[in-house]
Amino acid sequence: MSQLITIGVADMKVSNDPAATLVTYSLGSCIGVAIYDPKVRVGGLLHYMLPDANLDLEKAKKNPFMFADTGIPFLFREAYKFGADKRRMVVKVAGGAQILDDHGFFNIGKRNQLILKKIFWRNNVLVKAEALGGSVNRTVRLNLSTGEVLLKEAGKERLL
C-alpha cells in the first residue's frame, strides 16, 4: 500500500518517492495544484487559500503556501530541486468553488481561479486538466508512481 502524505490547508509537499501518494482534502474555494514530471517521477501538490500575498506580506513570508502568487512559484522551484523540468511538467488543478453569493463578497474561489490563469499564462504553463468552480468540495490525490490524479468531487471519484 502506498504511503499517504497529507497536504493541509495552506500547505505544499514535493516528493520523488514512487511509493507515495500526495493527497489534499477539503478544497472548497481553495485550489489544489498538482504537478508531475513523468521522466524523473517527481510530483508536488500545493493547497493555496487566497489569491494575493499583498493581503498580508508578513503572513506570506511565514507561509508562502497560503497565497497563489507566492505558493505556485515555490511549488515549481521545489520540484526543480528534485530534478524536474518545466517542459515535461504535467499540471492539473482543482477547486476554486463558490458559495451561493449574489453579491460577490465571498467570491474567493473565482479570484483564486483568475490569478492561477494569470500566473500560468505569464509563465507559459499549460494546464492539462482542470476541475474548477461550481459549488462542490473536492479532494485531490497525486500518485507519484504513475502521475495519475484522482479527483473526488461531490462524493464521486474519477481520474483527472
Binding site: M49, L50, L55, L100, D102, I108
Partner: protein, 287 residues
C-alpha cells in the same frame, strides 16, 4: 404522520445530552459564575476531566506551563476559556458517528464544527469584541441537526442533489423541500429538547438564512456571528460534506459587520495558524 413529523419523532432515539453539560450551559449564562463553580460541576465526570486536561494543554488556550489537574487549570485559564474547553470536551460526543447522508466520514463533522468555532473567535477579534464561550459553543454545535437528519438525506440524496444542481437551491432549501424539515430547524428542536439556553437554540435554528428569522437584540444575538463563521468554514471546506458549498449568503450579512471582501480574506488568513494551535481539539476522544 408525514415525513417531517416522523423525522422529528426520531430524535427521541438520540441519547440525552449529559446532565453535566446542561449545568455548564447554565453557568455560561450566569454572569456571577466563577471558575470554582465550573470545577464543582466537572470534577466528578472522569472522562470529561480527561478530555479537558488534554485540551488545556493545547496551545490554542495559551498556557505556557503543563497542566496536571483540573483545579490547576481552573486557576490558570479563567472562566471563559475553561467553559470553552469543557463544552468542547462534552460536545464531541454528539458527533460519534459518520453522517453518511452528507458524505461525511466519522470525525469530519467535528472537524467542521471546530473550524467554525475557531473562525467565530477570529471574527470576534476582528470586530474588537472579547472572547465569547457561548458563541464558541454555538459554532461547535450548530450542525447538531445533521446527526439526526443524515439518514433521511441519504435516502433522498439524488433528488436533493438534483434540486441543488438544476434549480440552484441551497442544500438546506432542498432538504426542506424534499423532507419537509431542514437540519437547522431540526437542530433547533433537538437543542430545545436538550434544554440549551435560548440564545444557543436560536443560533442553531437560524444558522442558515431564513425568512422567519426574528431580529434579536443586536448586542446579544449570536445568529449573524454563527452564520458568518459557518459560511467561511464552508468556503475553507474543512470537514464539509456534499452540502458544503451549496449554502446561501444573506444579502446584508456583511453589512451587519461592516466587513468587505478584504476583511473576509483577512479572517481566512488567520485560520491556519489558529487551527494549528488547536489541533488537540481534533484529537480528543469520544467517551
Amino acid at each position: 404522520m408525514n415525513l417531517a413529523e416522523q423525522i422529528i419523532s426520531s430524535i427521541e432515539k438520540l441519547p440525552p445530552f449529559p446532565e453535566v453539560v446542561k449545568r455548564l450551559m447554565e453557568l455560561v449564562d450566569d454572569p456571577t459564575a466563577d471558575a470554582e463553580d465550573i470545577f464543582a460541576v466537572v470534577q466528578y465526570d472522569q472522562a470529561l476531566t480527561a478530555n479537558c486536561l488534554k485540551l488545556c494543554n493545547c496551545s490554542y488556550f495559551g498556557l505556557r506551563q503543563k497542566v496536571h489537574s483540573l483545579r490547576q487549570a481552573v486557576v490558570l485559564l479563567g472562566t471563559k476559556n475553561l467553559l470553552k474547553i469543557v463544552l468542547a470536551g462534552a460536545g464531541v460526543n454528539i458527533y460519534t458517528k459518520a453522517q453518511e447522508g452528507y458524505g461525511l466520514q466519522r470525525g469530519e463533522l467535528w472537524q467542521h464544527s471546530v473550524t467554525c468555532a475557531i473562525l467565530s473567535q477570529i471574527v470576534l477579534k476582528k470586530m474588537g469584541r472579547s472572547e465569547d464561550p457561548l458563541l464558541f459553543t454555538s459554532s461547535l454545535l450548530h450542525d447538531v441537526g445533521k446527526v439526526a437528519l443524515s439518514d433521511y438525506v441519504g435516502k433522498e440524496f439524488d433528488i436533493i442533489s438534483l434540486l441543488v444542481q438544476e434549480q440552484k437551491m441551497s442544500f438546506v432549501e432542498a432538504e426542506k423541500e424534499v423532507l419537509g424539515i431542514d437540519h437547522a430547524e431540526l437542530g433547533g428542536i433537538i437543542s430545545e429538547k436538550w434544554q440549551f439556553p435560548p440564545l444557543l437554540v436560536k443560533a442553531i435554528r437560524y444558522h442558515h438564512p431564513k425568512d422567519d428569522t426574528e431580529d434579536g437584540r443586536e448586542d446579544e444575538d449570536l445568529v449573524p456571528w454563527v452564520r458568518l463563521s459557518n459560511l467561511i468554514a464552508n468556503m475553507l471546506g474543512v470537514g464539509t460534506g456534499h452540502d458544503g458549498m451549496a449554502c446561501r449568503v444573506d444579502s446584508d450579512l456583511l453589512n451587519q459587520f461592516s466587513l468587505g471582501r478584504k476583511e473576509v480574506q483577512e479572517i481566512m488568513a488567520e485560520f491556519p495558524g489558529e487551527m494549528k494551535k488547536a489541533e488537540e481539539l481534533l484529537k480528543i476522544t469520544v467517551h
